[in-house]
């Protein structure tokens, strides 16, 4: 089966991620089912068309017009096939929706009509995404305006980028090379020009690429500056004695909100907390945090969040400049 598939590279994009072959296998199976049933129906019809063509004007048809066992058979067998496909596809989907724990994060902001990509080290790209091979990468994205969609056919991944919230996808590239990415949600005039290239590099080349180019500060460092500039530090003292909760070590932990709901402090929660503070109050703290909606742009939000992520974690202390 795999041999047939690779023999026809024109029919599928390169299988360049850890999940691509799995998706292709399922696609191949679906294609076989389609071909089988199409051939079955077409063939049967063709055969009947010839065998039972009207030979005389006044001839009568014959044949039964009901047969319960047959009806049940051709209801149950397709149902079973559907169940198999559903389980297979869902299993892949659920597995592919969970990024491995050690993923590196890269942030993507879509806007009409380009993609801003920012690495935690602070390196920015436009319409290009450099990643190391054989490393799980988690893309956290949002949109500055309308709904866009980040799609890398070679990796078989796609996810909408929505304004006002974060969505994410993850992949692990398995082949060094250059691959397309596209915007796959119609977003206006230059939707079809909102495309770019993923460069999958081996780790040393990637490190060199990251280090080269103009010196930029890491996202966490930029975030730290914003933390001071917007006076977050005045309330969110790190020892917890301020008017707001301490943010040290907060990221990634499940916390109880005032509403009783338990949520993991992730990028989305932090974003919400900065934009619409009173909607995600942690227990016991008064609702006096002002909203920064409109004052902090998407990139700055991500930098702030990167900073908060780094508080109380080892990474921060070792990130050199």
């Amino acid at each position: 089966m795999g041999a047939v598939w690779t023999a026809f590279p024109e029919l599928h994009p390169p299988a360049a991620s850890s999940i691509a072959q799995g998706v292709d296998k399922l696609y191949f199976f679906l294609t076989l089912i389609t071909l089988f049933f199409t051939a079955l129906i077409f063939g049967t019809i063709f055969y009947f068309m010839i065998r039972y063509r009207r030979r005389k004007e006044d001839e009568l048809a014959g044949g039964p017009h009901e047969h319960l066992p047959l009806e049940l058979t051709w209801t149950i067998i397709p149902t079973l096939i559907c169940v198999v496909i559903f389980i297979w596809a869902s299993f892949l989907y659920v597995r592919n929706s969970r990024p491995p724990k050690a993923s590196m994060d890269i942030f993507v902001i879509g806007k009409q009509w380009m993609w801003h990509i920012e690495h935690p080290e602070g390196v920015r790209e436009i319409n290009e995404l450099h990643v190391p091979v054989n490393t799980p990468v988690r893309i956290i994205m949002t949109s500055q305006d309308v709904i866009h969609d980040f799609y890398i056919p070679a990796f078989r991944v796609k996810k909408d980028a929505l304004p006002g919230r974060y969505t994410s996808l993850w992949f692990e590239a398995t082949e060094v090379g250059t691959y397309h990415f596209y915007c796959a949600q119609y977003c206006g005039t230059d939707h079809s020009k909102m495309i770019g290239w993923v460069y999958v590099m081996n780790p040393t080349d990637y490190a060199a690429w990251l280090a080269g180019g103009s010196k930029t500060e890491s996202m966490a460092d930029a975030g730290e500056k914003l933390f001071t500039r917007y006076a977050c530090a005045t309330c969110h003292l790190s020892d917890g004695s301020g008017r707001g909760p301490s943010l040290v070590g907060l990221f990634g932990k499940p916390e109880k909100l005032l509403t009783g709901e338990s949520r993991v402090v992730d990028e989305s929660l932090l974003r919400q907390a900065i934009s619409v503070p009173n909607s995600v109050r942690l227990s016991n703290f008064p609702p006096i945090m002002p909203s920064y909606q409109g004052q902090i742009n998407e990139e700055q939000l991500l930098q702030l969040i990167s900073y908060i992520k780094s508080l109380g974690s080892e990474e921060r202390k070792t990130s050199g400049k």
Binding site: I41, I45, H65, S90, K159, T167, S192
Partner: protein, 547 residues
């Protein structure tokens, strides 16, 4: 086809016998008619016009796409072209096509009634359709919209600089046409069946129209309120769909698809009803598995309301939502499969003839099977992640809508044309154009499956050069397809003047509509018939080997 004329005055040419066409003359007698048959023809003309508008848009699009950088127009214009193509084809052609033309003409006749339950409401439906179409066409010629037929927010509510409100208003208005038609059909079918016409003696076309009408009345109001909210948002900028002020752009998608998914079943169910009629008529056999086919229409109507989320698998909705919508989407495929098998089994030991309507029916079964099976790809979560938003989706729905619904519509038009007009058209030309359509269709849309898996996104005005070969193939096919649609236009119009008179039953088919003269009198039946037999009760050999 020799007509088995056993009733008086059916040899007299149509013109000299009183029928619904010549019962009265003058434009007022048409524009103020309450005769369901005349209203069907009013719809036929307007819907054909809208089909041509949508078809011109498609032609321009395919011409543009032969070059990777676009051969014809700039991206702004291309975006408006695909938007108007979708809006016109979905709301002004596919949704009303079979119900408003064939449905209006045939529903009363097939059940043995004189008209629909509310004839004046029926006429009002047509005027509402025309009004909505006028708004939309006006907006189209004064610049159009660039939102796609899906009007996703916040692009359509906050960013698009195009005639969103007039077009949304046009679609909103036309929705009421659908609602009233559906209401009329349900009441007619429930209350006005002739004596002896029990539910399980109804032609399957009626079951299909009944199921479609349920979707009409329950689904359409939701798109109406959705478009109303969109219009309000665009006017007042409150923020219902604007995340900057707490709105949720995905709420629009949920509301939109809550109607628009059942809408696609509005577009295919009537076609399936037509196919049941054609297969039986042209194999001179009772349908195989009548109750299964009837109930599958109802099952499709019900389940269709439960699957809308499969359009939103990559929007970041929860994995659990994805699982639920995926399993339900697989479920909705089963009744359609049941129909395909039953139609095929009907051919077994039939007495099959190959006039144009049958060619369309057989083409439908094959192409609908392919289109439906490719739907399974999209219901499969892991695969849909890769395929959503690509040409694979475009190919899938065109296989069902064009390879399915339009072919069923053409087959139905060809089948009932002699009844509607009293004239025969040249079958040789009809069969030829059916073949041209079949070939052109596959050439146009099959390459799009490949394009889609390779990753070419949809709604792209320009594309990377490696997709050019497939695009050129598709455009070449489209030119063939266009020819295939033009030919029937020519011979149908020709037949109205020069076609030989059709008798009451040129195909020798079963059904109450075939027991009236062609064209029928205004009141359909001199005397309301009394029904004593099952549907499709063709004389058949007893179940013995036929050799």
């Amino acid at each position: 086809m020799s007509s088995t004329a056993t009733v008086d005055n059916l040899e007299i040419p149509a013109e000299s016998r009183l029928n619904y066409l010549n019962a009265s003359y003058g434009i007022k007698s048409w524009l103020l008619t309450t005769d369901h048959k005349r209203i069907a023809l009013l719809y036929l003309v307007s819907i054909t016009f809208m089909f041509l508008v949508g078809g011109v848009a498609a032609t321009l699009m395919r011409l543009h796409l032969i070059e990777p950088q676009g051969a014809l127009v700039d991206p702004e214009t291309y975006n408006r072209l695909f938007s108007i193509h979708g809006i016109v084809m979905v709301f002004f052609f596919l949704v009303p096509s079979i119900p408003a033309t064939l449905g209006n003409f045939l529903v009363p006749m097939m059940i043995g009634a004189r008209d629909v339950a509310f004839p004046k409401l029926n006429l009002m439906s047509w005027y509402i359709y025309i009004t909505g179409a006028a708004f939309t066409l006006y907006a189209a010629v004064t610049g159009g919209v660039d939102t796609g037929w899906t009007f996703y927010t916040p692009f359509s509510s906050n960013y698009s600089h195009s005639a969103v409100i007039p077009v949304a208003l046009g679609v909103f208005i036309t929705g009421f046409s659908s609602i009233l038609t559906g209401l009329n059909f349900i009441v007619t079918i429930h209350k006005m069946r002739a004596p002896g016409m029990t539910w399980f003696r109804l032609p399957l076309f009626i079951w299909a129209m009944y199921a479609t009408s349920i979707i009409f009345i329950l689904g359409t109001p939701v798109i109406a309120i959705t478009l109303f909210l969109l219009g309000l948002e665009r006017l007042l900028h409150i923020g219902i769909f604007d995340p900057a002020v707490g709105g949720d752009p995905l709420l629009f998608q949920h509301l939109f698809w809550f109607y628009s998914h059942p809408a696609v079943y509005i577009m295919i169910l009537p076609g399936m009803g037509v196919i049941s009629e054609l297969i039986t008529a042209f194999s001179r056999k009772r349908i195989f598995g009548y109750s299964f086919v009837a109930f599958s229409s109802m099952a499709i109507a019900v389940i269709s309301f439960l699957v809308w989320g499969h359009h939103m698998f990559v929007t970041g909705q929860s994995v659990y939502a994805g699982l639920v919508f995926s399993v339900l989407s697989f479920l909705v495929a089963i009744p359609s499969a049941v129909k395909v098998f039953n139609w095929t089994a009907t051919l077994y030991k039939g007495s099959i003839s190959y006039q144009a309507p049958m060619l369309y029916a057989l083409g439908f079964i094959g192409l609908f099977t392919m289109g439906g099976l490719t739907g399974l790809f999209l219901a499969s979560l892991a695969v849909d992640v890769h395929l959503n938003g690509t040409y694979f989706v475009v190919a899938h729905f065109h296989y069902i809508m064009v390879g399915g619904a339009v072919m069923a519509y053409m087959g139905g038009l060809h089948f009932w044309w002699p009844k509607i007009t009293g004239r025969l058209y040249p079958d040789a030309w009809a069969r030829f154009s059916a073949l041209v359509i079949f070939v052109g269709f596959n050439l146009t849309f099959f390459p799009q499956f490949v394009m889609g898996y390779l990753g070419m996104p949809r709604r792209y005005a320009v594309y990377p050069p490696e997709f050019q070969v497939l695009n050129v193939m598709s455009s070449a096919g489209a030119s063939v397809l266009a020819v295939g649609y033009v030919i029937p236009l020519v011979y149908f119009i020709w037949s109205m003047r020069y076609g030989p008179p059709a008798g009451p039953n040129p195909w020798g088919a079963k059904g109450l509509e075939w027991e009236t003269p062609s064209p029928p009198p205004t009141e359909n039946f001199e005397e309301i018939p009394i029904v004593t037999e099952e549907a499709y009760n063709y004389p058949q050999l007893p179940e013995v080997a036929r050799g």
